[in-house]
Homo-oligomer: 516 residues x 2
């Protein structure tokens, strides 16, 4: 460790005091954390061009203040008990104030995107999630208890042993070629015929959608979105300052009549849709619906962005081809991800589209971050080639289907009448609707107190709405906890209903007072 | 493997022919690559709801055409020799045209960014780079022959064994906390005091700069850039439709007088600078220059973006603190990367800045790709904690210094008079200037023919210029090839000079003809 600081040799303060004060400040600011070893006095003396005894004096002074401990034969270490985390560090007048805004008025500097409010996704939920006894229906994520970690570790070793040099160097901007070739065959089962050239590997669907927004959207452009939809996508489109044109979701997917009325009046840059196990509703667009949607898009010459984040997690019913698999005019741009079928932590997804689109996306990808790391892509390729992905998908399909069934049964058993919910044939979540006039935002803190949390509807609705809705994600809740979670939730819902009836009765009683 | 396609049961074409034709098309389009195993006939029969003998007939027809081979007891495989790559696949009339633009007029759909020309970085160079005998001074990259691959493989195993579940799940959007804590101590040696909170992990410097552009730049804003500068950064700023305000590079870094004149007239959103071993010149801003730059920025209240992509690769001279280490007003935003000191393939870098900036960057990061994969971050943390990064840096510093010395000596020995070059005290590259009126763009194809390549000056200059300049990167050229590379380059330069003299002499001879 080197300490890049300058001594003031003209100061009245002895050098050893300057050194001690500097180190004290670093320790108090937790830049040198408990357990960190200070440099041997000889090294630091050389670095700072002072005598070794100057350093020893500084270390002794720190020792006297309990800020460091000395272990014979091992060295001097920052003390564990020394610094109360809240200790306000006293700053020398001219010290860099790394933790403050400094002297700059930043608010004047930011772009419009830089002034966007922070997505309020987690606000209000976090304190409850952190309690160990809370049952969380929040995360639309895979269960990490089912992760084949050792298998993945082995393919990582294979990949690095085989071609570590190439994988750790700069690589192919459009993705690791063998993985793209694998995907090209993988996608056939969805009816998608994608050559290696028409695939771009990205850091998960999120980056895929962000790149699409960059390539298609200028401020003032419009985008059709389902209402409700995935908030992460809505954030992207909003950050591009696009106008959102919401289309309501019907029982068999986005409402084609509403879409037609929009397309008759507007020229959106694209239609963003999740036709299979839609987030948050779990609804799947029917085969007829798919053809109608494609016809509409073709008729009005509007591209479709198909977000197929969890289409492979099908638990029942016939396999439907992806929109992209039915697309004879090549106007569908398809995004997929390994986040739900394998590991979110890989941050790996892909886009498939027409060549002119892929060319522009590649430029946007290079501007954004040059390329996705080849290391994890290569490991993933070996994992897939060994047939492990298919095996893992079979395993989690079975497990998640069981959890979905448990959730549906528990809801039926415990929820009071007036509450309804969707019945997804795959995916990670369902949507529940409370009876009038209950609100999911009001339910959330009460449920949190009771030890159960979910995501409230309004965060999914681009244009308002969803006040009575909430998303229950079942994939990451251990089977043994699902019924208890529903029991807790039902209890709070019943209480809210009865509180409401009580209040209404009172109001009505008051209103029954004759008006004279 | 499943094949998502539909049979037309009303067609005059027998089902087995439909299946055969479909598979033939997939093979010819290279969607089913040589060596891929076709599904067992029983499985495919089940998928397509036909009899097993229908599938067998289809497979036999493919066999007869040599498109597949059958191996007893193993199955049916796409044949290796069957398909000439250039065979034009005949498409059924209604087949998806995955490789073409389809029926959509995409050019009308793209955003302004989507219509940017592709960066022409590699154009013209690629054919020469691919020849094995070519000596390439192009890549400003580390030498993969020096990569500690096995050590890295081991820490990857450690990380996954310790906390695979967490690393493969969604993680912390701002980065893997232990890595951020490590960086906080690491940065002290540059005089930078960065708490864990003021660090954001990004996918390499490129993403760091892209996020900064998103947070600061609206169309029409301006940015000060050095002239020349890193083309990848210029591409980002251009894609944000910012105006570039170029400041010339002097012998001790960016010219402060020019900068002052710009700041007197304009309000740029920030100053983008590489003060240490600048790309492409290799020049380092002096200690005085650093203070002058900070004073100017403070006086005019303009933030500085300090790109310290290779500051740790110092071969001689005193260690200078980073601008960020001297910054008492917290107006410097610092970006660093592991790409040059370790592995580019990790795609890992970081940003340090004032809190209001970091808050906005975190939002932009979440919009862009949610978070950087925790897997490689955790491995890197273990690598650093074991002291391996420091060891590796010592090793490559020594090696690259040797290569720099060899390059300098070879240039001195072989280059004709009139050619000059910079003498970097660290980093990966130097800049060479040809005598008037030679052009590096004209030199490039001639040098390529001679078996040596480099990057021509103009791609680094935001506002024109650099015609006589070229960048020679020495870090990735094996020591034994450096002198030969310079010898080849010198030969071409000499020939160009003599050609020019010859042409001039001729012209002069013609001009000497008396005018009557």
């Amino acid at each position: 460790m080197e300490l890049g600081f300058r001594l003031d040799r003209g100061s009245f303060q002895p050098l050893y005091v300057q050194i001690k004060e500097h180190l004290r400040r670093l320790i108090e600011k937790r830049l040198l954390l408990p357990g960190v070893k200070l440099p041997p006095s000889r090294d630091l003396a050389l670095q700072l061009q002072v005598t070794r005894s100057t350093i020893n004096s500084a270390y002794n002074a720190l020792l006297a203040e309990g800020l460091v401990v000395s272990e014979v034969g091992r060295g001097t270490f920052v003390s564990g008990k020394a610094v109360p985390v809240s200790a306000p560090a006293r700053e020398p007048r001219d010290a860099p104030e790394s933790d403050s805004a400094g002297f700059m008025d930043w608010s004047q500097q930011f772009s419009r995107l830089g002034r966007l409010p922070e997505p309020s996704f987690w606000q209000g939920v976090e304190p409850y999630v952190l309690r160990p006894q809370t049952i969380s229906f929040i995360g639309g994520v895979p269960d990490s208890a089912l992760f084949p970690i050792d298998l993945f570790r082995r393919v990582l070793n294979t990949a690095l042993k085989k071609e570590g040099k190439a994988l750790l160097q700069y690589g192919n901007a459009s993705g690791y070629p063998p993985l793209k070739r694998y995907l090209s065959t993988y996608l056939l089962s969805l009816g998608i015929e994608a050559s290696e050239r028409s695939i771009l590997i990205v850091n998960g669907s999120q980056q895929g959608l962000d790149l699409l927004a960059r390539v298609f959207l200028d401020p003032g452009d419009s985008v059709v979105v389902e209402n409700p939809s995935y908030p992460g996508a809505l954030d992207i489109f909003r950050s591009s300052r696009a106008e959102l044109l919401p289309v309501p979701m019907g029982e068999d997917g986005l409402n084609r009549e509403s879409l037609r009325r929009i397309l008759q009046r507007q020229r959106p840059k694209f239609i963003y849709t999740m036709p299979t196990f839609h987030n948050p509703t779990g609804i799947t667009l029917s085969a007829d619906g798919r053809r109608e949607l494609l016809d509409l898009a073709g008729q009005y010459q509007v591209p479709i962005v198909e977000d197929d984040y969890d289409g492979e997690l099908r638990y029942e019913g016939p396999r439907l081809l992806a929109l992209k698999g039915l697309d004879t005019s090549n106007l569908v741009i398809y995004t997929g991800t390994f986040s739900k079928i394998l590991f979110p932590g890989l941050r790996l997804g892909w886009i498939v589209g027409a060549e002119p689109v892929m060319e522009r996306l590649l430029v946007a990808k290079q501007i954004s971050d040059l390329q996705t790391s080849p290391v994890l892509q290569a490991a993933l390729f070996h994992f897939c080639r060994q047939g492990q992905l298919q095996k893992h998908m079979e395993r989690i399909r079975k497990e998640y289907r069981g959890r979905r069934d448990l959730l549906l049964e528990s809801l039926k058993k415990h929820m009071p009448s007036g509450v309804s919910w969707t019945r997804p044939s795959g995916g990670l979540s369902l949507m529940l609707r409370l009876p009038e006039p209950l609100s999911s935002l009001e339910l959330l803190p009460k449920a949190g107190e009771e030890g159960v949390v979910f995501l409230p509807g309004p965060i999914f609705f681009a244009a308002g709405g969803g006040e009575r809705d909430l998303r229950l994600s079942f994939s990451a809740v251990p089977a043994g906890r699902i019924e208890e979670g529903v029991r807790r939730l039902s209890r709070v819902v019943r209480r809210m209903i009865s509180d409401y009836r009580h209040k209404t009765a009172k109001t009505q009683a008051r209103e029954r007072t004759p008006v004279l």
